[in-house]
Amino acid sequence: MNTMTAKTATLRKIKWKKILPISLMALPGVLYLIVNNYLPMFGLFIAFKDINFAKGILASDWVGLKNFEYLFKTRDAYIITRNTLLYNGAFIILTTVISIAVAILLNEIRNMFAKRFYQSVILLPFIVSMVIVSYLVFAFLSTENGLVNNYILPLLGISEIAWYMEKEYWPFILTSVHIWKQIGFSTVIYLASIVGIDPEYYDAAMIDGAGKWRQIRSITLPLLVPIIITLTLISIGRIFYSDFGLFYQVPMNSGAIYDTTNVIDTYVYRGLLQLGDIGMSSAAGLYQSLVGFILVIISNLIVRRISKENALF
């Protein structure tokens, strides 16, 4: 009896000798996640409050759904939802189509040095910050000094355009900038899948006399379908979140073009830090978190059905 308890005691001791140090290793990360990620989740309740900094956040009055009522009564709610969905929708479709085409062409290139060189160069825009990108765009579109107004439009016989004041151009500008910055990244992903296709398929097709075009249509594209669907669904899961830098920096926060440049993320930011309208801002934030959450869950459920190993959970 005595030896038994002694044995369990040592076993327990050994167990603690393992649990304790590993828990200590996990501790900084866990604390960080709690502060940086979990506390803000609980902080979403401020969307139901009328924040008054004199009273403090916790002591501010509860107002129920008032903030949401105000938010959805404005035209803003419609505009930011529309812009977020349309931009991201266009981004998903265009980036997928273009980067697959580029990846197929890149894969055709025999010269390994050239192949790697092209891949590296088209990735360059991806590694610079949006602030730098906004400088580049400004060099082209600045009304007084821009290259487009000074050199390109005169060639076409068009008079100068105040780009940062006219909203109808921005859907094209922002989409182009996004594709320019993102295409290298997506190409790398699709290229990796194309490289992974078994060469035997192509050998067999060649024996049957199939040309390149036929091979692409009958082998490459069908074999890419699972990854295309997966990546697209993952993007759709994140369609409620946009690239804040793109929509804030590139239009240079110009008020005249908010109609076509404002998305949920920029709206939340401006409400919080420029207008001081925490009620609206936090309501829009909660709206984004909730709809975003639902979309991620739904898209993941579908991914699971199609290819289980690519599902998040």
């Binding site: 990620n37 989740m41 360059l124």
Partner: protein, 294 residues
């Protein structure tokens, strides 16, 4: 057949050359603008072939190097500290979540994973950091919010431990009497260098390029990173003049503003472009790893 091959080669090269030009030309315009004479620039606008070149912008930066070097220093400090501390925290928590004999490993993995699905967003995060933790106008504000980068990278590292570090190795070390910490730091950590290099690289680029934390948390120009200097200058051209210690009024008169802005953008981009050929292999690996498993 052979002819068709050649046509495809040609088409591919032509398209890729055009795309490469599209990727590079804006940066060339940025560079040329930075060495364009200020009055030429104002008269003719940004151009690839300016009438008159001048290094005035760089000379100006050199004369006011205190502001720029300071910003450079901040960017470097934030990148180095953020990436190293981030990697240590990431690898430790990922390791704990990967140890199958650790009873909380599943809970831990879920705790990390859930942050990918749901988040509090900007408002609560900002209020927490600014109002409660009071990290405004400190270096912490530039480092802390991005320490774990995102749960996704932590899970990548965890996955690496699960698949590439055999349990037997850990057991053997412990039979030899090594404690958990020693096992981790002398055996597991060195083995995971490939994945940590990849994740660390992504994180370092993120810190180097970050302007957002500076924009929302930093109002003191002394703590501005390079990106924040650029960001501020875009809205306030006189930034350099007003933060300089010497006679402000006389400086404003001689600020070659347009080309100076471009010059600062150039010196913010150049280090990444110089380092890029060396890290691009890891970078491409990081992208494919992330996409295929996510």
């Amino acid at each position: 057949m052979y002819k068709e091959q050649r046509i495809w080669q040609w088409i591919s090269h032509i398209v890729m050359i055009l795309l490469s030009l599209a990727a590079v030309l804006p940066f060339i315009l940025l560079f040329v603008s930075s060495i364009t004479d200020e009055s030429t620039l104002i008269r003719n606008g940004y151009s690839y072939f300016p009438e008159k070149l001048s290094l005035e912008a760089y000379r100006y930066l050199f004369d006011h190097s205190d502001t720029i070097f300071r910003a450079y220093g901040i960017t470097i400090i934030v990148t180095v500290i953020g990436t190293s501390v981030g990697l240590i925290i990431t690898s430790m928590v990922a390791y704990a979540a990967a140890r199958r004999d650790y009873p909380f490993h599943r809970i831990l993995a879920f705790l990390i994973f859930f942050t990918l699905l749901f988040n509090g967003g900007l408002v609560p995060t900002y209020l927490l950091y600014a109002q409660y933790l009071q990290i405004k106008n400190s270096l912490l504000a530039l480092i802390v919010p991005y320490l774990l980068m995102n749960g996704f990278n932590t899970l990548l590292v965890r996955n690496y431990y699960l698949t590439s570090v055999p349990d037997e190795l850990i057991e053997a070390a412990q039979v030899d009497g090594a404690g958990e910490f020693r096992t981790f730091f002398t055996i597991v950590f060195p083995l995971s260098v490939p994945i940590l290099a990849t994740v660390g690289l992504l994180q370092a680029i993120m810190y180097w390029n970050d302007w957002f934390n500076g924009m929302i948390f930093i109002t003191n120009p002394k703590l501005f990173s390079l990106q924040n200097v650029l960001n501020t200058m875009m809205t306030n051209i006189e930034f350099l003049a007003t933060t300089s210690t010497s006679d402000a009024a006389s400086i404003i008169a001689q600020v070659p503003s347009t080309s100076v802005r471009m010059a600062i953008a150039v010196i913010a981009v150049v280090p990444i472009f110089i380092a890029y050929p060396f890290f691009q292999k890891y970078f491409v690996k990081g992208i494919t790893l992330g996409a295929v498993k996510g």
